[in-house]
Amino acid sequence: MTPRRQALRAPDKLVFLLSLVPYLIEQQVIGVDEAAAHFGVPEEQIREAVRLIAMSGLPGDTGTYQSNDLFDIDWDAFEDGDEIVIVHHVAIDEAPRLAAREAAALIAGLQYLAALPENADSTALASLMEKLRAGASATPSGLAIAEPAADASLTSIRAAITGGRQLEFDYLNALGEGGRRRADPLRILSQDADWYLQAFCHTRDDVRNFRVDRMSALVVTDEPVADHTGLEVPETLFQGSSSDLDVVVDVAAEALPLLADYLADSSTAQIGDRLRVTLRLAHVHGLKRLVAGLPGLVTVVAPAEARTAVADWASAGLRGYEETSVPEG
């Protein structure tokens, strides 16, 4: 997994420069490759930054940036050995404090991770959050997250991943079909409060995403997992494929973000006060649940079978209330 590299904006570059300087001072002698690995950036970004740092400094009393007021590096080591040695530094030697919002973002991220069973003992997380608060230049803003504890079976899944063991479990798929599965666990994905296991399913002989809350009778077997290097593992949870179902729906503008994962393309058309978009789903069973969970916000336009499936699903639900309904006054 290599993260997509985005062009850095000037404030990001400034943060990088201010963080790189104390690192280089502390390391004394460091290879460009090691520094790049430490910050998780391309080597060329390190070299560019070092060149900039080496000609930066203070205007000084005369306002002319004299050499004594500038950073200096061992140019021979840099140009011949690809090594960085800062031989003179000015003004900074420590890492900068975090902005309040930067600390708040990490604290909230940690609160989300608190839902994981391995973080159930919250003292380690609490002390880490306290450090982030102490490292911020102002009180972090009031952002907080409470997620219900994730399914306890994640503990076993985690153990299977780290131990390289196969898993066996009962699984109920979105079509309502149950069955015993055997799988090599690859990783745990989450999306908001939902947790998924991405695994190579021996039963289906392919990579599948399993909703953890649809798994039961989970067993970590003694069988080692197969070697899956080179296996194409999808980055995202929802993958379109040619066998999928394209469904045209009208959606209220405010609800469009809720469908973002299912949009087949980016085209929208204004139809009255609604937006007409095309969704791509694996099958109609997922669609009926999606639409029924957004009552009044999404209406299926086509195909007719999809419309009927949604109508049948909601009507069947409604009948449950009519049969047992108390007379309304």
Partner: protein, 341 residues
């Protein structure tokens, strides 16, 4: 190495100018006058006109100051004791003691790995930029992280358009205005709120703050904010500390005070998924009890299960789910029935 490396005809990149400004302001104890900064600091000095107004350069400096402060760098303005109120006599500096990450803030390799994972949570959200900057700064400490936490790809999506403006307003302590559709009301009403906390509870983002017109503390659901959130220039004093945790505790209390009894179909998705959240269950009867915070939100969730779940109690939830199913059924009824209506 002399200053001759900075050729005046060379276009100085923005980060170069910002870096030079930060260095200059960190190195001064008494602070620098704006005129001194513009005439000497690299990135400004090349464009400084000795007898000109330098209006463009001054505006540039104002924007740069804001950018630098946004990064959490404590750029201070000091008034001249002899000439208070005189803008030309203002001095600027960055006190080193407030710039440096305090000595006690050091992380273990394990903590570093956990922080990297916490940053991962915001992939694709606006908070990822802030997380990334924080992690870069922390890497400046030179601590080598333990191997990254493998096997996890956590992600929290932020899908409410109101979230980003509210987070900015929260950070800058600025009042916000928005139209809010309260459940049970037909038309949205305009609110003016001092935002104190934005919290995620049961999968929904809430804003807590002072409703200026109602003169009281209120909690709003971000999903019920209609249209744009306007940030006003009016600021307010710091919110009570830890208020976000108190609000979460209150929401949790509310959740525990609401209980629903549900009949679930054996072997269904509803039985498996809702059953895992049940606080009490009678497997033979197929009845489970769950806590919930908000009737409308829970009813949406239950409606998705269609015939797999039937609400037994409370009546308010029963009605809400039934109404939702009716809306969906009617909206998707065959075309001929549409003509009849």
């Amino acid at each position: 190495m002399t200053g001759s490396r900075a050729k005046p005809d060379l276009k100085i990149p923005v980060e170069d100018r910002l870096f030079s400004l930060v260095l200059a302001l960190l190195a001064t104890e008494t602070g620098l006058l704006k005129a001194e900064i513009l005439s000497t600091v690299r990135g400004y000095a090349e464009r400084y006109e000795k007898h000109g107004t330098n209006a463009n350069l001054e505006r540039q400096f104002e924007r740069d100051k804001d950018e630098i402060r946004e990064l959490g760098i404590p750029l201070e303005t000091v008034e001249s004791p002899d000439r208070p109120g005189d803008n030309q006599a203002l001095r600027y500096r960055i006190p080193k003691g407030q710039y440096d990450l305090p000595d006690e803030v050091r992380f273990t390799p394990d903590e570093l790995a956990l922080l990297a994972l916490a940053g991962e949570v915001w992939r694709g959200a606006s908070l990822s930029e802030d997380s990334r900057r924080a992690l870069t700064k922390i890497r400046g400490l030179g601590i080598e992280p333990r191997e990254p936490v493998i096997g996890y790809a956590p992600r929290l999506r932020v899908r409410d358009a109101a979230f980003e403006p509210l987070r900015v307003a929260l950070d800058r302590r600025q009042q916000v205005r928005f139209q809010y559709l309260k459940p049970g009301e037909l038309a949205p009403r305009r609110r003016r709120v001092e935002p104190y906390a934005v919290v995620l509870h049961e999968g929904r983002w809430h804003l807590h703050g002072l409703d200026v017109d109602a003169e009281g503390l209120r909690t709003f659901l971000l999903s019920r904010i209609v249209g744009q959130v306007e940030i006003s220039s009016q600021t307010f004093d710091a919110a009570p500390e830890g208020i976000q945790d108190r609000i979460l505790a209150e929401l949790d209390e509310l959740r525990l005070s609401n209980a629903a009894d549900l009949a679930v179909t054996a072997g269904s998705d509803a039985e498996v998924r809702l059953g895992k959240r049940a606080v009490r269950g009678d497997e033979d009867a197929g009845v489970i009890r769950l806590h919930f915070t908000d009737v409308a939100a829970f009813a949406d969730e239950l409606a998705a299960f269609g015939p797999e779940v039937r609400v037994l109690a409370p009546e308010s939830l029963r009605t809400a789910v039934r109404d939702r199913l009716r809306i969906v059924a009617e909206a998707h009824a065959a075309a001929e029935s549409e003509e009849i209506r």
